[in-house]
Symmetry: C3
Subunit: 469 residues, 3 copies
């Protein structure tokens, strides 16, 4: 059996002088509380504080970073506890875990490996590495610990030093869990985020159901344009009451539009009338980004735009297993033309704040840094999804800093539903940022005291200001 | 107060062995004279040799790199001495300077910070850093120095060791300042560059006025196609007489066209007749690049093509403050298809020389290096504008050298109107190039004597040959 | 005269600790046999085992990496032994070689320089560098050696430690040389690869001739759709009999299609009827990728897709010298939309294996790594052509590993017709990979024993499995 060691200098640059600087910077921020302004944990966990079940169901089956890699090597999803639609998950969780352990070498060089080893060592206390020979020991130990009080969601929340955690709910979500969290008297700050895609994207199969629920929750005539807008306003207020400071928009592109009220209403009638083309659907999403910006100017919610993912690319898998099965693939994304309609309307606002994300790194230096380095309303979200990794974060800093500076960025997002990995992810981000700052200091492009100030900003200051926490 | 220190090893790689090599290479070229073949300084400075006024008016208000960053953080341009159109600049320069000092931390990690600190330390002799507490001291000292003889334009030109400085004038510019410089008997070599965009881009609001002036200056019937071409020939001759060795073309795209004479004439009639579409305007710009290439084959002027900037993106700011206010945003740029019509006509020429620039770094390795590594008439301009920075220059070398080699590049352009920063910019380029060469030597990919030869070429040899100086 | 030294640490990172790790990893794989699953050497060499003639004809005239660089500096191709079409090559090979030596400095910083110096030092035993003063000595020594038995193709094949070498032949190629190799009793394993572009791409001038020969070789009615498909099946079987394990497809784009049989047949009639548009030609190529995938599912041949090169970009040169003269230029390439039709049909297959290549590095992290990290049938080919270089390989690993892992890649391809450079190219790849792994170890992102295992996989394991050798 191999030892599992988290080296204290991991992720720092190898050059000894640079590493010393990185180590000193990291020491300043390593223990700061976690502020997680964007993620996908399940609020039910914190509402019920129920124990999780076992390693496979908690760590493997919900994590598309993991099962997509095994799937790419021919492992059927069913064998990992990810069932086909309408089929009961028949897999024994222990068998899934063994299969995972057998393929764990596939993750060498990936962030999943870094995160998981951190979870294994720091959260569960393992001192031996995961491999086929230790799979059962892992499965048993994790199972036992998860059954204990110390590993219930709220206990871990506190142990992880989380000061603020945002989840993401749809416009058609009841927010009951958030209400339960607040009613429970527990001190953990778990808030929601307004994600209205379900009632905006007519191409999503949830649209009819979401609209019906939207109507129900708001008592508005959501099938009329004024009623639809009023319903958004009501729900945004509900979300703000549940602690939300931000909205989130996951669109195929960054397209925005700035139609006249009459044009917008006519388009809405087409969309809701069912007689729309894909171009209409795209234009409606585009227009709604601008409508959401208008409401953000009113109510102060920060907008997040996450464009550029081709969802459910694998047609066969979509048919058998449904959406969100690790088959979302990034596409080339334009921001300069796409955002202009919205910016022509709100670009000079100093009230509005929009955080832009990308899956297309070629836009970092070319489009996003120049946009954020000019417009008062634009900020750059951190390296996202496939790029939330040591090399991805390094490229983000290298390609955005010189034009946008550090102060037009917003700190780190863990963006995860893998709750146990949150400390690991923030730790990776802090280490990579300190490594980048250390290089600037070593190359005499920044003074050491400035780098220390920036390390605090990147960890703590920027995220609080950007998300209005 | 913090000290202001320019570390002698700044911008060199941190690894000690590589740094030693970089230091040795830099020592060979640090003091070579400055050859600046492309820039935007005002020839009036050298014609009149009048003193500049104060820190804000010289360093801040004309520098869109600086005020765009403050604007992105909500500082109104007016407060920085950049007035709205038709409004007298009411701001007290000292107040602007204080505001700038207050926000100086925003520039951490940006090239502006490197350039400014160099200007503060080397040009003005400051030994304390700019911060709110030192803003007045800075403003006063700079003001006093600027009022002295030693800080007049020609004195600084000599002190900076500038051997050649090209400015940029429009086809409709009188060149009076250049005439005055030559008539003055002063020995400084300040030449012009032929930039005919104003009489080519019918979408630019200056077009009618520029054409009228073009007619006046050339006594040609510029509203007829033969007269228009003849006018270009005359003005190119005027510019060559004013020392120009190059033309410059700042187009939205790199599109070229190769119409028949009859088609070109018909298009010209459409453009000048006023009944044109945006596609016509684009086609005319495209055709004119090819016409300019034809004239370059005749008169030997080197062509520079600077495509890919979406000008004046911020509609609100454009309405209030007009063009060139830091709101130009790069866009994705194609070269392979775009340049083909021109290259089909002149691609095998060994007389023609075209220097290509880009704001889209994804084209470095994919399009530009392969093009320049094949066509005799193509060379690669240095990392431009947003990419004129340590990381940007490093990426340029890393992504172009292996396919195009060093010898299809043309040395450094400072491309600036910030005259005082010229030595700083050339110094950054020399340091980054020496750092890149040092890595190749440290990795045994280049011999040390070759690197020394290349350091000289990148600083001095290539620019002279490429710009036919 | 300068010494020619191949430093034992060349291409390793400069940081001493990282270099030590890289050196240790490289020691594990430096002497492993060469497996070359994709290349363009001439099977006639191994069939006849005839001596090569001289330095220029062997090393210079066939190598577009070399003559394109000299051409870009104004050297006419004729002077390098690359004649215009229909013109006898009148150039004295010694004169070509002198010209090459005169321009050898142009290759500083390029992989050609690394490869050639390796060939000069390791294959020919030179201890002095190539420069004008040594050109004749080089020419004479190389000529003498090439005339000896030790430098005949089979002797070098053995000396180079080549275990497997794939060439590439068209669907209309007789495979006689491969038959001769097998009949000769020589033990070297030289196999073919099925490249049917000539009978698929109706825009290629060889199409009519290739189709005629295709008919002849298969005795099928290749002008009917069923006969055409049957002919492909027959030839694939011929190629498999000649050792082929893979097919190769060099298309302008990665477009695939999934037409119904009736639509496909109608399209085929259009293509062969001569009344097709460029869009038809593109759609037919797209459909044929899917047809080839269907046949690969049947016969187990691995597909390689090499898209994104704009062939023969230089119109003037194409007219005078014909195709493949160093004027192919990469273009922006889309994979996400392009591959979907094929993937919708075969994406979940675990039988099919497709190896994707790109000339557009912006797709590494954005499209290719996410696709390969999900689809069981997709793997990533190594850094290709212009990117087959130290920096290009480094970027490939940095941009693909975190999402696709190492195990969705396929080892190295030398992709060369420059037989003598094969060991040099594999050596560069091994060194760069070991350098990359060493950085991961130095940054504690990988254990040393894992890196050693990976070094073996990247050199030897992955290529054998991916190409089913």
């Amino acid at each position: 059996m191999r030892p599992l060691i988290l080296h204290p200098d991991r992720l720092f640059p190898a050059d000894p002088r640079t590493r010393d600087i990185a180590r000193a910077l990291y020491a300043e921020v390593a223990l700061l509380p976690i502020v997680s302004p964007h993620g996908h944990t399940d609020p039910a966990w914190f509402a019920t504080d129920a124990n999780w079940s076992n390693a496979s169901e908690l760590l493997l089956a919900p994590d598309h970073y993991l099962y997509r890699m095994l799937y790419s090597h021919g492992v059927p999803l069913e064998a990992l506890g990810v069932p086909a639609q309408g089929v009961a998950p028949a897999t024994d969780p222990r068998e899934s875990w063994r299969l995972f352990a057998e393929h764990y070498h596939l993750f060498r060089g990936t962030p999943s490996r870094l995160w998981l080893d951190h979870v294994f060592a720091e959260v569960f206390g393992f001192e031996i590495a995961l491999e086929p020979a230790t799979a059962d020991r892992y499965f048993d130990t994790i199972g036992e610990k998860l059954a204990s009080d110390a590993f219930r969601p709220r206990a871990l929340f506190d142990r992880f030093g989380i000061e603020f955690l945002a989840t993401t709910e749809g416009a058609h979500d009841s927010l009951d869990h958030h209400a339960a969290i607040r009613a429970s008297g527990w001190g953990g700050r778990v808030v929601t985020t307004y994600r209205p895609d379900g009632v905006i994207d007519v191409e999503h199969e949830v649209f009819p159901r979401a609209m019906a629920r939207f109507a129900e929750l708001t008592s508005e005539d959501v099938w009329s344009w004024p009623g639809y807008l009023a319903a958004h306003r009501k729900r945004r207020a509900d979300f703000r009451a549940a602690g939300a400071t931000a909205t989130d928009h996951g669109h195929p592109t960054a397209a925005t539009a700035n139609l006249s009220p009459a044009e917008a209403e006519a388009l809405f009638r087409k969309i809701t009338g069912g007689d729309w083309t894909p171009a209409d659907a795209e234009l409606f999403r585009a227009q709604m980004l601008t409508e959401m910006a208008a409401m953000s100017v009113e109510d102060g919610m920060v907008m997040q735009i996450h464009p550029g993912s081709f969802r459910n690319h694998n047609g066969g898998l979509f048919a058998s297993h449904g959406r969100d099965k690790g088959a979302d693939i990034p596409t080339r994304t334009d921001y300069v033309t796409a955002l202009k309609p919205l910016l022509d309307r709100f670009g000079t606002s100093t009230e509005l704040s929009i955080i832009l994300f990308t899956l297309d790194e070629s836009t970092y230096a070319r489009e996003l840094a120049p946009l954020a380095g000019h417009y008062p309303c634009l900020k750059l979200g951190p390296a996202w999804w496939f790029h939330d990794s040591p090399e991805g974060m390094r490229r983000f800093r290298e390609m955005t800093t010189e034009t946008a500076g550090f102060y037009n960025t917003v700190g780190f997002n863990d963006d995860t539903r893998a709750f146990l990995s949150i400390p690991a992810r923030h730790d990776v981000a802090r280490r990579v940022d300190c490594g980048f700052l250390a290089r600037l200091v070593a190359e005499h492009r920044l003074e050491d005291w400035e780098a220390a100030e920036l390390a605090h900003e990147l960890t703590s200051g920027l995220v609080r200001r950007a998300y209005r926490i």
